[in-house]
Amino acid sequence: MNAPQLDALVASASQGVEFDGLSVAADSEEYRVEIPGERLETDEAGLRAFAEENPWYVSNWYYWTRTVGSEGARYAFLRWIEDAGRPVGERYEALSTGVSRTWGQLRVSATIGEDGKRRYALGHVDDAESASLDTYSDPLAARELVKLDDRGRYRPLSTAPTLPTGWEYPNLDGEDLVRTVDFIYPATVENWHREREGELDVTHFREAAERQSGIYEIVSQLSVEELEAAAETCCVDSQCLKRRQWDEDEETDLDVPRGDGEFPCREPCSLFVTAARKFVTLGREEMRSYEFELTPTEKEQIEEIIDAVAEGRTDEIREADLNEGANRYRARYLRARRMPDGELSGTSTYPED
């Protein structure tokens, strides 16, 4: 607590203060002040003395009502970080050593700074113990920072679980923290807040599809079976950290797990719509029968290759692990043996041509 904070409290007493267990009221020269377990009726000097003995309550009130401003998504998010439902004393003790929360793949930590001002640190959850990180302070830098994953590949979906490591924002104020999070996971704080307030505006798939135009108009043709497969393809936790809150329509839930993410997904995103368009065109093709000559192991190998690609596991398969069906040598050998002209088992895709 500092002098301006105390002066602000005294000045606010006449309108009444009720915040996080601190209660102050004034009636002409008479002040009534209360914290859990203590209550005092006194004059201004007595109020000031009481505040000096309980500085956390004053700096806490000042930080939340004056520095942050006590409403909106930012306020709710910053309160959530320090689990502000707890008593002030307990919180200040926890903040003195630091408290942390996970937001997608972000680790947000809060500590108490000068005069109750919170300081926040932001980084990748996997970097919590890492000593050699590039440090940043400008929220705008986050846009470039998270553009590519650790393998140098472009991340078109901000909430894909491929957030790069190796960086940190060691010291942000509350406003810059929320801006930085918004550059890394855009609109997640706002939608999380809306959900907590019971005001999340979910747009289900059929409604979202109805809205599409141009080349995306066809996504409304996706059948419910295809939609289930599409959600399983794109929207599960291994692909996106948002928690899917949309379904086929208001009455028809999808069976695919929604995910365990902290922040909600309120409608099919542009990547999903683009994928859905492709899935519609794939679904237009008629089934036909092919005959292939393969050994049982080769059939299983094809299944293993599909599985490895679908799970993004190809990089983990060791160069010389010839027991893995999706090993590169195994795949090359299969191609050499069974795809003589680039077609599986020499079977033409369009034999009539």
Partner: protein
């Protein structure tokens, strides 16, 4: 409080697509004219659907960083922003190049949205094209003895795409600064492939009216014009083609002066830009 939202196309495939949007947003942030400046994208995040809710300002100026009036600026963006009662007639642009702005409400936020015409059809875009010619030639007086080709995508689906190109071509031609000024296109006549056929001047500055550098501006156009056999090997500026010197500038949208066009759009829609010195954002920042 007032906010500026710059809406761009973005890409699922090309990480560079959003960079001009970010860069112009940063230029405008530095002026301090707006309480908030935010980027939003069709293919990236925040999406058009969710950008407005991330803002605290009551007054929001939305400027599309798009080249033409058409499908995206008239249909997709207003729909995705949920602008209530939007109708393209509100822009009063009968000719496809005269959009101004419209003031509307968005249905998911309590804000006033000033939806502006695209950057590409604003008059001051002509200045950006000329500036691009100056920067690629390194000559702030460039014009005398030079031809200027303005290159557009051109598409049968959207005739306005060509109109924006023609509009600036006419304006710059009328200014008399260059010996010759021509509009050329990638997939309609007159085609950029034959650029040297259309100019009698030895020197030709070629400025593609595209927002971001990508496949078209970095691969197609240089190869089509014969600046290089293979874009991966790069090309000279200027490059010799059929006895002409081609000064190829790359996408006009990356020019820092674009930030001024966005600011002018917002100012004309009523944004308070009094904090701006000389009305020139990019120049102020470039001096830093």
């Amino acid at each position: 409080m007032q906010a500026l939202v710059i809406v761009g196309h973005g890409s699922h495939l090309n990480p560079g697509s959003s960079r001009p949007t970010f860069s112009h947003a940063d230029t405008i942030r530095e002026t301090g004219v707006f309480d908030e400046v935010r980027e939003a994208f069709w293919k990236e995040e925040p999406s058009f659907r969710e950008v407005l809710r991330t803002l605290e300002s009551d007054e929001v100026y939305v400027v599309p960083l798009f080249i033409s009036e058409g499908y995206f600026t008239e249909q997709v963006i207003p729909r995705e922003l949920r602008l209530e009662g939007w109708d393209v007639s509100a822009w009063e642009s009968g000719d496809g190049v005269s959009a101004d702005h419209a003031t509307l409400k968005a249905s998911d936020v309590e804000k006033t949205i000033h939806y502006c015409g695209p950057a590409g059809t604003h008059d001051s875009m002509s200045d950006v094209i000329v500036r691009r010619a100056e920067s690629v030639t390194g000559d702030s007086e460039v014009g005398d003895g030079f031809g200027l080709a303005i290159v557009g995508h051109g598409t049968e689906r959207n005739e306005n795409s060509a109109k924006a190109i023609e509009y600036h071509t006419d304006r710059i031609r009328e200014s008399g600064r260059f010996d010759e000024v021509r509009a050329l296109f990638m997939d309609e006549e007159p085609e950029v492939d034959d650029v040297t056929d259309f100019f009698s001047t030895t020197d030709i500055v070629v400025v593609p009216l595209f927002i971001a550098d990508g496949f078209h501006t970095q691969e197609d156009i240089p190869e089509d014009m014969g600046l290089t056999e293979d874009y991966r090997r790069g090309y000279d500026v200027p490059a010799e083609v059929d006895g002409h010197r081609i000064w190829y500038s790359g996408a006009v949208g990356t020019e820092s002066l674009m930030a001024d066009v966005l600011l002018e759009r917002a100012a004309e829609a009523g944004a308070d830009v009094r904090g701006l010195s000389d009305g020139d954002a990019s120049r102020g920042v470039a001096d830093d």
